[in-house]
Every structure is written in C-alpha cells, then in structure tokens.
Symmetry: C2
Subunit: 392 residues, 2 copies
C-alpha cells in the first residue's frame, strides 16, 4: 500500500430540500457578495436560480449573476467571471449546475485569488494556485464528481485544448446535493453521468498498487452501485433511490476515497479529453464509454490478476483458471453490453470521430510525442494511436 | 434514503514515517504551544514521544507534556488537562495514542475553549461545546476510530458512568496514521480493535433505513476487510498490509461514511458502555464481542430481510427461502465463530461479569428505566435485561 493523504473537507448537505438552506449556509461561511454562476437556461426556468436569489436576499447577502457556462467549460468564460468578481468585489463563488459550471467556478475562484498569475497557467501546469476564494455548489447533475474533487477541467476554445489540474484549492467548501434536482436530466445525460462516475472509480481501480483490499472493495461497491443506479434512473427518471445513490456515488467516486493507497492516474480520461476537446459536442461520459473497452483490451494482458479480480467481484464471473484471459475478455464484453444497455456508444465512430483525425488525437494525447501514459503498460504515441484505432 | 450531512474535515496523513512530519504539520496549523497528551509508558519507551518533542523543537514550537491516560479515559484526567492548558496558554492539543488518549484530548480541547461550562456536562448531554481548540493526533492503535469521528467517550471514575457525546467540535484537524506504529499492539488488543471497528460499521448497518445500497455495499466492504485484516494481524503482527487495512478501516468505520442515508444509533455500544463502566478492566471491543450475538438473536426477527442481506453479502450464505431465520441464525453463529477465532469472548461471564450485576447494568443502560433504545425493535428495561442474561 502506498502512503497517501486523505483530505475531503467539503461539507455535503444531502437530500430533499437542502437547496433551501443556501442563505443560511452562505451566512455561516460569512459570504458578503456572491457570484452565482450557472449554465444554460434550465436552472433559471426550473426556478432554482430564483430560489437562490430569494434566499440570499432573505439573509441580506448581495450577489451578481453569471450564466452561460457550456459543456466543456471555456477559459473565455472563466476570464469573464474573474473580471466580474474583481469589479464587483465578490468574496464567495456559488456554482449552480453540473460539473462544467463547478469547474468554471473553481477556476474563477482561483483566478480571483491569484491575480498575479494567468489563470490558464493552472490548466497548463505552469503554476499552482496558492490561495482561492471560498466556494460552494448546488449540484444539478450527478456525473463529474467535481462537487467533492480536487479537479478542474477547462477548455481553451481557440486551440481545442482541454486540460485538467488537481489542487487542494479546487475543493468546494460545501456541496448541496438534492437528488430531486436531477429528475429532469434526460436519458442520454443520465447515462453519460453513470459512465463518468463508474469510470472515475474504475480508472483508480486499474492504477498500479497492491494490498489495498479495503480500497478495492469500496471501489467495487461504487462501480456496482452506480451501474445499478444508472439503469434504474433510465427506467424511472423520478426514482428517488436511484437518483440519490447515483448522486452520492458521483461524490465518492472522485473525492479520493477510491484511490487510497494506490497510485493515481486517470489514463482513459486523457484519451477522452482530446476527443471532446476536438469535438466539443461529444459528452465526456459518452467519450469514455467509447474508449474504455478498447483501452482494457489493449492493456489487460499486462495485469491479468487485477482484471480477474474485477471480473469476479464486479461481474460475478467464475474464473476460468486454464484460460484466465477468456474470463477477462468476457467481463470486458459485459462492460460493453452494459454501456449499450444504457444507450452509450462503444465506438468513436458513433460519436462522429473521423479516422483522419486519429493521428492528431494521438499526437495531442502524447503531448506531441513527449508524454508516455503510465499504468500496467506504458502507452506512448504508437500505443495511443492503436487504441484510438481499436476504438473507432 | 434519509437526508444527511457528510462532514469529515480531518486531514489524514497515512503511511510509513508520516509521524516525522509532525513539526511541519503543527507549524502549518499555526500551533505556538502544544499539549502533548499520551497514555502509559509505551509511547515514551518506543521513542515516539521523544521524536515528537524533537520535531517540535526543530520548528521552535513550545509544548507541555501530560501522560497517564488510561483505557476508559477519566474525567479527572480531562480536568487536569484543562487546568494545565489554561495555566500554560496551550493553543493546540496533540494526542499521541489510541482512542482513549484521543477522546481525552478532545474533551480537554472542548473544556479549554468553553471555560464557562463544566466539561462533564458535555458527556451528560446537558451542554454542547460551541468552540474548541485545534487538535490533531498520532494514532498508535487501530480500534476506536476517534481519529476521524465526531465522538468522545469519557468515564466518571467515581460513579462508574461512561458516556459518549457527538459534536462537530470533536473532529480532529488532522490524524497521522502510520500502521507500523501498531506492530507492537498485542494479540488481545489487536482483536479488540478488529471487533470495535467491525462493530462501528455493523451497528450503523443494522440501523433503520432503506434504499441505501451504495452505503450498504461500502459498509459490507469495511466489515469484510477488517475481519480479514484482524485475522492476518494475529498471524503476523508485522504484516504491513494487514495493519494498514485495519487502520484505514478504523477511520472509515466511524467517520460517518457507513451511515450516510440511514438513521444512526449505536445500540450495542450502549449495552457495552455500562459493562466497561462498571468493570473498568473490560476492553471495549471484548465487551462488544460478548454482547453482539445475543443482541442479534434477540432482535433479528424484527427485520429478517436486513439480516439476510448481511448473511448473504458478508458471510456468503445461500439464503434458505423456506426458513430464512435459519440462514440468519447460521450467520450469527459464524460471527460468533469469528470472534472466538481471534480470541474474543462471546459471553459476559468470560469477562468476569456477575449475574447479580445484570439488573444494575440494565437499570443504568435504560437510564433508570426512562430510556428505550430504538432500532428494529424497541428495547426497554426488560428487553435490555433479557439480552444481558442471554449474553451471560
């Protein structure tokens, strides 16, 4: 087991009507002027933004509004948010939305608190935020896990570069999670969320590490639970239990719990970020579903025992000890079947990715052939390209 | 699923050599004068207290020492600690030890920060601490889970009353967990720890609640992992993987993770606190092992499906659908066999409890016949007495 630091300071208010506490909660955190940051019109149309405004007014807390965050949140919007906060003297950033809104809010909070640094440098790994503004969120989508994670993923819309960075400054002070707020998420986005959550756990599960049987069992629990929840949400979008288990899985999948004692990389995420960076209409979860099985088929021979453990504990397969690779292949097939069962793609071509773009994707994913992705099997440019081809 | 607040602010530094960071960590928290609180001589003899002193000196941090905390920590020691902190102007409390030392340190921190309240009033539920001193710990025993919990259990040595209270003020700011520091814990205390950890999870698991399949799976993971770790630690006390999984299970079992969305009571803990309150030489874990199966046999008919889920998922039993109670009884027998396999008692008489004391225990546990313990089956004085008799 590797040494680790476990640090999940985000206080979660989970359940029905929790968003109605937003005024009192912000008061408790001493907020004087809040940036209310959100995405498209749905948060306005649903009345959620209106509710937040009302609750802040009740507590005498001033605020400014900034909507319009898109999927794959853009650095342009982050810069607008920073300027607005500086101009208005904002001291607290409140994100109302899904992972894109939360990530945009995190980057704004970091940008405001570190005015001497260009905010894109955080994404490019050229600088680390040393301070941040306090921030919280009202979550409306169970997917990215940004509500408890130390992660922030931003896209430079001009170059198509999509870059994530981790930092303790990226932790929300609080997260309000009411599963009912996700009842209106459509089937496709719900399925994308289930994939994203499962993948946050599976990517950690398939990192190098040993003797972490507690962490492994927790990870297997999250994977199985979110797959069940995803299926149930699609059957009945107002199934509270399904929405609730999925939302809580979203937070636990990405807050660090499922990586304790293991090395940490999100390899398939690296593949996917290039795809949705180049094809901005590709939903992150769909991209992951299209890629994961090809990655697994390419690398599993490098650690058959680990994939066997997953085959047994997640897919309840009996291990074929004479031909263990057949058991693993069957489990990967079952994973693929699951993705199809919830309407997710299992190939890049379904997402409109063109064969002639694969070399560019591999070139970018390998950071112009300078980066080898590590894991059970090191993946340099040629490997990355091969996996993109397999996934096509 | 019930609404819940999840709030685990304790930063955990986990792994080999982490205790060597204590000076830097205390510096980061701004400590100027530290109370180093510890138990018997073993922390001194092992050189751990000397190491802490050296690291604090390196950082120019002043400190005072207060050792001598016993198992079932006493309010008398808490009062001594409070007086010492006030006299010396202590601004940070560092506990070096197991759950008893940590609980004593928590109560001292609360007492110092709330001088207008008698500290025993916190234990008696007559007052709640509103403030606290910052505090951290170096853990030397995997058992009580106090390192991440909001719980504090103190005994009034004059009356034999042992009382726990929960408060956000009881959360440690940080916990240093090096599994190697538990290599010298003897077999009996190691087994007591395994029981205590498993029980923190099982008590939550057997609380009322529904639709919490993610939380349930996480709880089952903790229960199975700690039982395996306990067995492995006894086979080889220097098995790092076993000590590490057990230590991490200790923290997760009691930090709130395994209760999310369920009601929360620790019913068998209430039974046990009276036993070790009256018989101070009884180790808490041993008392729990002696009581749990009798409690389970008394109540399981009130929620057979829940006990069946446990029988299947923790004990891998095939359910006998014609006679489901037989499956549950078999699982309880297996739990009892497990306790015996690690050298734990499965009856109160093994702990020296006398039959003539059972009425007093039941009287105290029912708070002079005014309290009914809730759960699948309400337990008033007569029920409590019957369970004590079954456990004798």
């Amino acid at each position: 087991m590797e040494n680790f630091i476990y640090d999940t300071p985000t206080r979660v208010y989970f359940g029905i009507d929790q968003e109605k506490k937003i005024g009192e909660i912000l008061k408790e955190y001493g907020a004087k002027k809040v940036l209310i940051h959100y995405g498209g019109g749905s948060a306005v149309r649903s009345g959620l933004i209106g509710l937040v405004e009302e609750k802040l007014k009740e507590q005498g807390i001033a605020y400014v509004l900034l909507g319009g965050v898109q999927a794959n949140p853009e650095i342009k919007m982050v810069r607008r948010g920073i300027a607005l906060c500086q101009q208005e003297g904002v001291d607290f950033v409140l994100a109302v939305g899904g992972g894109s809104v939360l990530d945009s809010a995190k980057d704004i909070a970091n940008g405001v608190a570190n005015p001497e640094i260009d905010v894109w440098d955080f994404s490019m790994g050229k600088a680390q935020p040393k301070k941040t503004l306090p921030k919280g969120c009202i979550l409306t989508l169970a997917a990215a896990g940004s509500e408890m994670s130390n992660s922030c993923v931003i896209t430079d819309e001009e170059t198509g570069s999509k870059r994530g960075y981790g930092s303790p400054m990226n932790r929300m002070n609080f997260a309000i999670e009411n599963p009912e707020l996700t009842y209106t998420v459509d089937a496709y986005q719900t399925a994308c969320g289930a994939v994203d959550i499962a993948m946050h756990t599976m990517e950690r599960y398939f990192c190098p590490g040993e003797d972490t049987y507690l962490t492994d069992a927790l990870a297997e629990s999250v994977i199985k639970s979110v797959m069940k929840a995803g299926t149930d949400c699609l059957k009945n979008p107002k199934d509270y239990a399904a929405r609730a288990n999925m939302m809580w899985a979203s937070s636990l999948a990405h807050n660090g719990l499922t990586q304790c004692g293991r090395q940490f990389q999100l390899v398939v995420h690296q593949f996917e970020h290039e795809v949705s960076g180049m094809y901005p209409k590709v939903a992150h979860g769909a991209g992951l579903a299209a890629l994961w099985c090809s990655w697994a088929r390419y690398v599993f021979q490098a650690n058959v025992p680990r994939f066997l453990q997953w085959s047994k504990n997640v897919w309840n397969l009996d291990i074929d000890f004479e031909h263990p690779e057949k058991t693993v292949q069957k489990a990967i097939d079952l994973q693929e079947d699951y993705y199809r069962s919830i309407g997710m793609p299992t190939s890049l071509s379904e997402l409109g990715v063109k064969e002639e773009d694969l070399e560019t994707l591999a070139y970018r994913c390998s950071r112009e052939k300078t980066r080898t992705l590590i894991g059970y099997k090191p993946l340099a440019y040629e490997d990355i390209l091969e996996i993109y081809h397999m996934a096509l």
